[in-house]
């Protein structure tokens, strides 16, 4: 699962740590936190390359001047909603569950959830592929064996990794043996 990269730009420790506290409860995201510094801001944002920015009115105005507000997805925080922001957190009044549901809403409306694959078990083709991967065949060798293109093999492998959440070849080998897809003697 690829996590959604969130960047909080805020100088207030109290607000940042409060936000982080809440973000910790949302499994789909990973976040960083930086302070607002006009000189470096655009650089910083480029460096983190976030998919979602959480900023206050001040940063919002700055980004607007720099014409950055159209390219980034934003959640704006503040004590009153002056500009009609699509996603707004009121730091004075919103309670925890309001904030969490707002962030969740923002996520569901803008990101499809890669975790929700209907069928988590492998298809028979995928089982076949994992068998060859586990034994140590290269993508090309698997392609030749199954009369499919190398790119199809790569796509299958991506799907396998997403379904099982196993990232290394030796991890896949363990999976294959535990599930009797291959015999332990098949691997040296």
């Amino acid at each position: 699962m690829n996590k959604i990269k969130v960047l909080i730009i805020n100088n207030s420790y109290v607000i940042s740590s409060g936000l982080q506290n809440i973000l910790n409860e949302i499994a789909e995201i990973t976040y960083s936190n930086i302070e607002f510094n006009e000189k470096n801001l655009l650089n910083d944002v480029a460096k983190f390359n976030p998919e979602l920015l959480i900023i206050n009115e001040l940063v919002f105005k700055f980004l607007k001047l720099e014409k950055q507000t159209t390219t980034n997805l934003l959640i704006v925080i503040g004590d009153e909603n002056k500009e009609s922001h699509k996603y707004f957190i009121n730091t004075l009044n919103d309670n925890k569950s309001t904030v969490i549901s707002l962030i969740r809403k923002c996520i569901t409306e803008n990101f499809e959830k890669p975790t929700k694959i209907k069928n988590e078990s492998l298809s028979s083709r995928e089982n076949e592929i994992i068998k060859y991967v586990a034994i140590g065949f290269t993508n090309q060798e698997i392609a030749d064996k199954l009369f499919i293109s190398k790119y199809t093999v790569i796509t299958h492998r991506k799907n396998i990794t997403n379904k099982l959440n196993i990232k290394t070849v030796s991890g896949l080998t363990v999976y294959a043996i535990l599930n009797n897809i291959i015999d332990i003697n098949d691997v040296n």
């Binding site: 982080q20 196993i166 030796s170 991890g171 363990v174 043996i177 535990l178 599930n179 332990i184």
Partner: protein, 250 residues
């Protein structure tokens, strides 16, 4: 909570056992009585500020003040990193290995699960050891030499040449992710390993894996965000000194 030097060491550890993890890197024995962190550090010849920075980093994942940490000598940081390596290889890994060896199934057929798990873990261990060896044989000595070179304003010609070819930024770029296999192992135990008869051991293993993972992440953070930027800074300074002819070549 931010840990400060006048806290009692014992209380700090009771409050957060992760501080104990940091202490073990400095070879400090238990039995603190009522002594403060400062007293214990002085007694054991530990830089108090350095200890506090590390303790706070372990204690709170949002506490990582790069600027403060960057002010310590590279020698200090490297010796801490080497001590951590020793503990990974000498304690953490063998502990987990031993636990995996104790897993038991009541039928022949499932016995293969342990063999394959062991194999996977030993693959992980080899990867980690290679990673550590590379750092201790190549990277750290290079970085320490940088620091000494700047201090004495004196470097050897071959070292300077080497610096132009291999920079600390290359190390960062190729700094391999030793956590991938660890991630897979956790995942496999949680989701795919058929429970052995002494399945409670699996929970112990998992807990240790999570702790090791967190520990390694802090370790990499020190390497990538403190050691490397400091080294790059020194490289630039040495080049500048050379262009101004203010450095001796030996």
């Amino acid at each position: 909570m931010i840990i400060t030097k006048d806290y009692k060491m014992g209380d700090a550890i009771l409050h957060d056992p992760k501080i104990l993890t940091v202490l073990t890197r400095f070879n400090v024995k238990l039995g603190f009585g009522d002594e403060t962190i400062e007293q214990i550090c002085v007694k054991n010849n530990i830089n108090v500020d350095f200890f506090l920075e590390l303790a706070n980093t372990f204690h709170d994942e949002n506490y990582f003040t790069e600027n403060k940490l960057k002010s310590f000598s590279l020698q200090l940081i490297v010796s801490y990193l080497i001590n951590s390596h020793k503990i990974y290889v000498g304690n953490k890994i063998p502990e987990i290995e031993e636990l995996i060896n104790t897993l038991k199934y009541d039928n022949e057929q499932d016995a293969k699960n342990i063999i394959v798990l062991k194999k996977f873990f030993s693959g992980y261990k080899d990867e980690l050891i290679n990673h550590i060896k590379h750092e201790e044989l190549n990277v750290y000595p290079y970085i320490l030499e940088l620091e000494i070179g700047l201090k004495n304003k004196k470097v050897s010609e071959t070292f300077f040449e080497r610096m132009l070819v291999y920079s600390a930024s290359d190390y960062r770029d190729e700094h391999s992710d030793v956590e991938l296999k660890l991630f897979d192992l956790k995942n496999i135990i949680i989701k795919y390993l058929p429970p052995p008869i002494n399945f409670e051991k699996c929970n112990v293993i998992l807990n240790k894996l999570f702790k090791l993972d967190e520990d390694l992440k802090n370790h990499s953070k020190l390497e990538e965000r403190i050691l490397v930027p400091n080294a790059i800074k020194i490289e630039a300074e040495l080049k500048k000194l050379k262009s101004e002819n203010k450095i001796d070549f030996i």
